[in-house]
């Protein structure tokens, strides 16, 4: 979708398809803090300094279909691993616009940690208790009413309400603390932020976790929505503050107009939302890459006074 949007913009770009890694090579060189080297793929050589923007949708290289059946330590696996590792290292330090670097994505690996970061930008976060003490959980429930529980790490879980039938097994949390949150009633909103572009999608569902509504015999309807300017700006600020160029932000807006933020997804699977609403999220990503290649890119996370050179942007896809 991003590649098609780049075509619409007439952008000069290349697609590094990691499935063709067997025919790719990379050399990364760093001298006195400056980053350079070469990347060879699809029969072309590129200087790393000429790459001014990149969009990443890479999978775990160890699971590439082209490596299926290859024994551990084979030449093909070693080459794939070494090429991907060098590519990752370069992308983490490359000047210019990278959507998104790995390091800032990692805050999503701890939801309560990320919530503390989110709260700095004026968005409310749900009242949360993480505990291995059943009595503390019951006291939290008396304080906040209906609770939900879900994973606090990056491991995906289905959100469940804490029912009375669950109390009998509440003792199990003594083995490992569990995250409980006060249920926030309201309208689900997914906001995709790309640079300064904001695409808000309202989700109407009859299930607690709309992502699994159909699986649970329910429904989820998506529609494009308009977000209050102040909230939109907070979404932009939190995305930027977390070091991200692109994010999928999960909000819930209550009947009183309060806005709670549950999560900032650093690698949003936006196609589901664009396909259901027609919102031009891919076009925003493409524009953001092209703007980066015109020298208005954000700097690499390491302080740098370099301006990215005009040149190609590189899109990496699986």
């Amino acid at each position: 979708m991003v590649a098609r949007a780049l075509d619409e913009l007439g952008a000069d770009y290349r697609v590094f398809n990691q499935r063709h890694v067997a025919n790719a090579d990379i050399v990364l060189e760093i001298e006195a803090g400056e980053v350079d080297g070469t990347l060879r793929f699809a029969g072309e050589d590129f200087r790393l300094q000429e790459m001014s923007a990149a969009y990443l949708r890479l999978m775990d290289d160890r699971l590439l279909p082209e490596l299926e059946g290859e024994p551990e330590g084979s030449a093909a696996r070693r080459h794939a691993r070494a090429t991907h590792d060098t590519l990752y290292r370069w992308l983490e330090i490359a000047p210019g616009r990278v959507v998104n670097r790995c390091e800032p994505q990692a805050s999503n690996g701890s939801k309560p940690y990320q919530a503390q970061l989110i709260a700095r930008y004026g968005l409310l976060v749900p009242e949360t208790l993480i505990s291995d003490d059943p009595d503390a959980v019951l006291a939290f429930r008396r304080e906040h009413g209906t609770l939900i529980y879900k994973s606090m790490s990056g491991v995906r879980s289905i959100v469940h309400a804490l029912e009375e039938t669950d109390y009998a097994r509440l003792d199990h949390i003594r083995w490992c603390p569990v995250q409980f949150q006060a249920l926030v009633p309201g309208t689900d909103m997914r906001v995709h932020v790309v640079g300064d572009d904001v695409h808000a999608t309202e989700i109407v569902s009859d299930r607690l976790d709309y992502r699994y509504a159909k699986r649970q015999g329910g429904s989820a309807e998506l529609r494009a929505a308009r977000l209050d300017d102040g909230i939109a700006q907070k979404c932009i600020d939190v995305t930027r503050g977390l070091g991200l160029e692109f994010a999928g932000i999960d909000l819930k807006i209550t009947a009183d107009g309060e806005v709670f933020c549950f999560e900032v997804n650093p690698c949003p699977a936006f196609s589901f939302y664009e396909a259901n609403t027609g919102q031009p999220i891919a076009l925003s990503v493409a524009r953001h890459l092209v703007e980066g290649s015109r020298g208005s890119a954000r700097r690499s996370p390491s302080p740098s006074r370099d301006r990215p050179a005009d040149g190609e942007c590189l899109a990496a896809v699986t």
């Binding site: 990379i26 803090g33 490992c176």
Partner: protein, 240 residues
């Protein structure tokens, strides 16, 4: 109260705790073994984040009572990891890591070092990132090169050993061993600031031309090598 968080076998942390007590700081050492047996209540919400954990002996530690932290927990406590198993082990490790990152982040006062998603006692950066940061901080560095023909693991292995000379940054102070030229002090402070690590061990090795070159950095340096002067700097940073 200043917390020292460390594994029970971390001799450098034990050394630091003793030195900090000698300098008048109220130190409470909480080891990984103690944390493995603790009971947790960690809250995040409108009132911010707070933590209370109860140790096996009944002692309660609340985040609001903590005035600073010397954080030497690089991962989850070994004692906890050793006692969990079963098909959900990997999930439990991820959940516990998420909790540790969050509660460490909620610590108040000076924290040496703040927890990050890339390491609970600071960001364990790849040598290529240190090479960029060090170069841009003005430290003399050797060229770095990595290619498709190289074994990626070798770069981590080479980064493991400290150099013959180690500078220590603790807060606003940089302590250089006598071998290192004084002008490196400012660059060391810049590196620690850019890296977001107020406690940093910065390693140097002599090059063929006799100059000292940056070879690596550690967010969990051997504090004993810094001696009493480093203990002074730690006390100042934690009491700030």
């Amino acid at each position: 109260m200043i917390l020292v968080l460390c594994e029970e076998y971390d001799l450098a942390a034990t050394w630091a705790a003793e030195r900090l007590r000698e300098r008048g700081l109220a130190i409470t050492v909480v080891t990984g073994a103690a944390l493995a047996a603790a009971r947790w209540e960690h809250r995040v919400g409108r009132a911010g984040a707070r933590l209370e954990f109860r140790l096996a002996g009944g002692e309660r530690i609340c985040s609001g009572e903590i005035g600073g932290v010397l954080n030497r927990l690089c991962f989850l406590p070994s004692a906890w990891l050793q006692r969990i198993g079963g098909p959900d082990r990997d999930y439990a490790v991820q959940e516990m890591l998420a909790l540790y990152l969050s509660w460490l982040h909620a610590m108040t006062g000076p924290v040496l070092n703040p927890a990050t998603p890339q390491g609970l006692c600071g960001n364990w950066r790849h040598p290529s990132v240190w090479a960029v940061l060090a170069g841009r901080s003005g430290l003399p560095t050797s060229p770095y090169r990595q290619t498709s023909a190289d074994d990626p693991d070798l770069y981590w292995q080479a980064a493991g050993a400290p150099g013959p000379a180690t500078a220590f940054v603790a807060g606003s102070r940089a302590l250089l061993p006598p071998d290192l030229p004084a002008p490196l002090r400012a660059a060391c402070l810049r590196l620690a600031r850019q890296a977001g690590t107020p406690l940093l061990g910065i390693d140097f090795s002599p090059a063929a031309d006799g100059t000292w070159r940056f070879t690596g950095a550690s967010v969990m340096p051997n504090l004993v090598r810094g001696g009493e002067k480093l203990a002074d700097d730690l006390a100042e940073a934690l009491a700030a």
